[in-house]
């Protein structure tokens, strides 16, 4: 057994010299005790202190550059096993220098993970160390208390020198302290938290900044904790604000949405106009291409009642207005028969472009698919947000699917209200074009009567809702 004493926890040079000597002497990895400082030697009573002389015929060797870099970092790790692990790797690399490339190897993986932890620790010290100013006879000095996880303080000194070379500063840690006077760096004994100042005049402003730059509408505490774990918080003045900011966030977001939702009432018409203009340029699905124009909804922005159809037809497409073709005329008649005032209703379609198949000179209506319905929901949802009708009527399956997000069978759904995700009440009935397609006159009359019946019930319900 060989016993190697290193001068300090971050004594990379000492390790390098010893490791090289041990390798030349042919000492296997499990025959070395590594120790920092003068620990109790009797623990290793059987060990021979110092590095044995080179074995006869041992040849000098070199190791890959990548190993040197890896060792310089991983040796700063707090794990007492680091010296032995790196020595074991060194022995392996002496015979197979290219083995360092095998990052899937368990030993290399472990050492790389150690190096990674050290790099992260160094980086967090760059980031989370906070200076506080104190007045001294010679002027201002900036003092920080910091508790690193690994033996990184000396290795990190250069960063602070490069950045703050014209200031006078001190960094106190449980391992040692560093003092910079503007020209040279001095080392001192370990410090204690109480040695550092406990306040700084700039901290109030910094906390104001921290609280204000945070967006309460995007609370993501897990992401914050991943990068700024709690163990760092005690030395970061701003971290004291976190619990209150988090607790308050939901309330603040709710408030923002509430005010947002109450304000459109004032200029809902303006909002609807702007939306209509943007929709005129919509390219969210391919239906815009062959169609003449976007046919947007129409009616008062404050309408208590909203009718949603499937899509514009041939005549609507040319006119640019919803429900003006044969189905629209039938719809108007039914509304009249049911005693529902169309001028109080907002009329729109689930899909806002005409989908058709050309058949000679005619354009034959084609059913929109669920992708197109989904794409166009972007518009109907915003129309609903602005108009916020007390009652919505889905005319046909496409409208029902768009509003509820489910596929619906009319025969089963008609006649009873459905609650929508936005809280609105929805009734489902047939689309007037369905009535147009029925060939038998008596069945047609029968279905028309049912449709008028539905509308009458809807009218009564609306009167109930709006008082």
């Amino acid at each position: 057994m060989a016993l190697v004493r290193l001068a300090a926890d971050d004594d990379v040079e000492g390790w390098r010299a010893a490791a090289r000597g041990l390798a030349l002497a042919g000492v296997p990895a499990d025959a070395v005790h590594w120790q920092v400082g003068d620990g109790p030697a009797d623990l290793f009573a059987d060990a021979e202190p110092g590095v044995p002389p080179p074995a006869p015929g041992a040849e000098a060797f070199s190791v890959p550059r990548r190993f040197v870099e890896l060792a310089e970092t991983a040796l700063l790790h707090a794990d007492p096993e680091r010296f032995a692990r790196l020595y074991a790797l060194l022995l392996r690399l002496r015979d197979q220098p290219r083995a360092i490339e095998d990052r899937a190897d368990p030993l290399i993986r472990t050492i790389e993970d150690m190096a990674k932890a050290v790099r992260r620790d160094m980086h967090k010290m760059h980031a989370f160390l906070r200076f506080r100013a104190v007045e001294e006879a010679e002027g201002e000095r900036f003092v920080a208390w910091y508790e690193p996880e690994h033996h990184i303080v000396r290795a990190n000194a250069g960063f602070f020198v490069r950045r703050f070379s014209t200031l006078r500063w001190s960094i106190l840690t449980p391992q040692l302290s560093l003092h910079w006077d503007g020209i040279s760096l001095a080392e001192g004994p370990p410090g204690q938290r109480g040695d550092a100042p406990d306040a700084d005049p700039a901290e109030a402003a910094w906390k104001t900044y921290y609280a204000s730059i945070f967006n309460p509408a995007r609370l993501k505490t897990a992401a914050m904790l991943r990068e700024m774990p709690k163990k760092y918080w005690k030395n970061m003045p701003e971290a004291a604000l976190v619990p209150a900011l988090v607790a308050d966030a939901q309330r603040r977001e709710r408030e923002m949405i509430m005010t947002a939702q109450t304000s459109p009432a004032g200029n809902a018409t303006l909002a609807l106009e702007a939306l209509r203009e943007e929709a005129a340029q919509c390219r969210r699905c391919p239906l815009w291409k062959p169609a003449t124009q976007t046919v947007f909804g129409e009616g008062p922005a404050g309408a208590p009642l909203m009718f949603v159809g499937e899509q514009p037809g041939d005549q609507e497409d040319l006119a640019g207005h919803p429900f003006v073709g044969p189905a629209g005329q039938l719809f108007d008649r039914a509304l009249g028969d049911a005693g529902v005032d169309r001028s109080r209703a907002y009329v729109t379609n689930a899909v806002k472009h005409f989908k058709f198949e050309p058949r000679g000179k005619r354009r034959i209506h084609a059913k929109p698919d669920s992708g197109e319905i989904e794409a166009c929901r972007w518009w109907i949802e915003q129309e609903r947000d602005i108009v916020r009708p007390a009652l919505t009527v889905a005319l046909g399956v496409t409208a029902a699917q768009s509003l509820t997000g489910r596929s619906i069978t009319i025969s089963r759904a008609r006649g009873a209200p459905v609650r929508l995700a936005d809280g609105g009440e929805c009734w489902i009935t047939v689309h007037p074009s369905f009535l147009l397609r029925i060939p038998e006159a008596d069945r047609k009359a029968e279905e028309y009567a049912r449709f008028v019946d539905d509308l009458r019930r809807i009218g009564a319900r609306l009167a109930e809702l709006t008082g």
């Binding site: 290219r98 490339e101 990052r103 899937a104 993986r109 980086h123 980031a127 989370f128 160390l129 906070r130 100013a133 020198v161 490069r162 950045r163 703050f164 070379s165 014209t166 200031l167 402003a205 910094w206 104001t208 900044y209 921290y210 609280a211 204000s212 730059i213 945070f214 967006n215 509408a217 995007r218 609370l219 993501k220 992401a223 914050m224 990068e227 700024m228 900011l245 408030e255 923002m256 949405i257 005010t259 947002a260 939702q261 304000s263 459109p264 702007a274 943007e278 005129a280 340029q281 919509c282 390219r283 969210r284 699905c285 391919p286 698919d369 669920s370 992708g371 989904e374 794409a375 949802e381």
Partner: protein
């Protein structure tokens, strides 16, 4: 306006800046104050996040507006003319003092300064430039400076901005022109892109000059970036990535930031009331990475989106979405496949792929080797072939075969 004290102003003007997502402090030239008689600060290439806010965002720079007064009326913006927020304005000297005071205490990497437009574009830009100039020339500040650039400002002012700043950014604001027309009626897409093209030209010009004369003055060494607001206009994910791809291509941007539009106090009626799910923003960033680092083409990203709606799935990352649409490309043999094919395996990052390529020169890799290089081998093993592993088939569901029973192998060996 009554005189506000500095802290009150800071509260207002940081609050007003918080909707801007770009806060990186990376990618600039190295600078150090060591051996310098005057000044303060350094940059080391890598950005540093000095704190994280509860919204999970990195706080690297002092991100503030010079003023939140504005003569424009962009609906998504809390500072628009018609908004009722409290207004405040810093003097350039106040911003300089605040930056230095924070920097000395190691709170920040530098400054990100933006502003509402007051009086005119030129006047506003002059004020922004003055802050950067004073930091650099009066105080020899060597930390990071990011300036928001106003598209219509005089080219001479842009020139000065680029001389002092590490990074310049011009926000395209919205991915579609119709969205811009609705939500930012005073802004124009061609003008914005024109300004970006101008900045690109200057950056490349100066890089060229510096290659020949080391002493040639630099121009925005950390390049230019932009930001798009997501979910305020009708743009689909496909539209957004098409726009981003075009911007990277035409203006050599370092970064495009995607910022899910979030409810703002005193919102305009013209704004959609619902915010997009934050996960959508995340999916867009992932697609952006696929474009820039994983060798996917714009057509690939488009194909990962739903064909009809143009939206990327929210419940899986776009790389997985692509892999499930193009199953015929999998499984990929980790011991044989070229780099490009490995990069397409969902769950394999650039680092892991490099690790595989280096390790396999040495020996044939087993599943446990891959496990050591990645976070979750369970998720990616249906897409892989390793020395001791072959997925049964990539069915409709993500069915995976259990690892071969080891003990049994040993029994056979005996």
């Amino acid at each position: 306006m009554a005189q506000l004290d500095l802290r009150a102003k800071l509260g207002i003007l940081a609050d007003a800046a918080k909707y801007d997502a770009s806060c990186a402090s990376s990618g600039t030239r190295k600078r150090s104050s060591e051996g310098q008689a005057k000044g303060i600060g350094s940059t080391e290439g890598m950005g540093i996040c000095h704190a994280y806010a509860p919204d999970g965002r990195c706080i690297s720079l002092l991100k503030i507006l010079l003023t939140n007064s504005c003569i424009f009326d962009c609906h998504y913006c809390i500072n628009r003319k018609s908004s009722n927020v409290r207004r405040a304005r810093f003097t350039p000297a106040e911003v300089v003092e605040l930056t230095l005071s924070f920097y000395r205490r190691n709170y920040i990497e530098g400054l990100f300064l933006s502003s509402g437009i007051i009086r005119s574009s030129d006047y506003t830009m002059e004020q922004l430039v003055e802050v950067a100039r004073s930091l650099r020339e009066d105080h020899h500040f060597r930390g990071y400076i990011h300036l928001k650039t106003i598209p219509d400002a005089d080219p001479l002012l842009i020139e000065a901005a680029g001389r002092h700043a590490d990074r310049l950014s011009i926000n395209v604001e919205l991915p579609t022109e119709s969205g811009l027309a609705r939500l930012a009626p005073e802004k124009s897409a061609p003008r914005i892109e024109g300004a970006m093209a101008g900045v690109r030209h200057k950056i490349e010009d100066r890089q060229d000059a510096r290659r020949r004369y080391r002493s040639a003055p630099g121009f925005a060494p950390a390049g230019q970036s932009t930001q798009m607001i997501i979910g305020a206009d009708a743009a689909t994910d496909r539209d957004i990535m098409t726009k981003a791809h075009g911007l990277y291509d035409r203006h050599a941007l370092r970064r495009v930031y995607y910022s899910a539009f979030s409810p703002i106090p005193d919102a305009s009626a013209v704004l959609p009331l619902k915010r997009p799910p934050l996960i959508r923003e995340h999916r867009l960033y992932q697609s952006d990475w696929m474009l820039r680092f994983y060798g996917y083409s714009l057509a690939d990203i488009s194909a990962a989106a739903d064909p009809a709606s143009g939206m990327l799935p929210l419940d899986m990352d776009p790389k997985l979405a692509w892999a499930l649409r193009f199953r015929e490309h999998f499984p990929v043999d980790v011991n044989r496949a070229p780099r490009e094919a490995l990069l397409r395996v969902p769950g394999l990052g650039v680092k892991a792929v490099n690790g595989i390529l280096a390790a396999r020169r040495w020996r044939r890799l087993r599943l446990e080797d891959i496990a050591r290089l990645t976070r979750s081998v369970v998720k990616l093993r249906p897409f892989l072939i390793a020395e001791d592993w072959r997925p049964v088939r990539l069915g409709d569901r993500l069915e995976v075969a259990p690892p071969p029973p080891r003990q049994q192998l040993e029994l056979f060996a005996a």
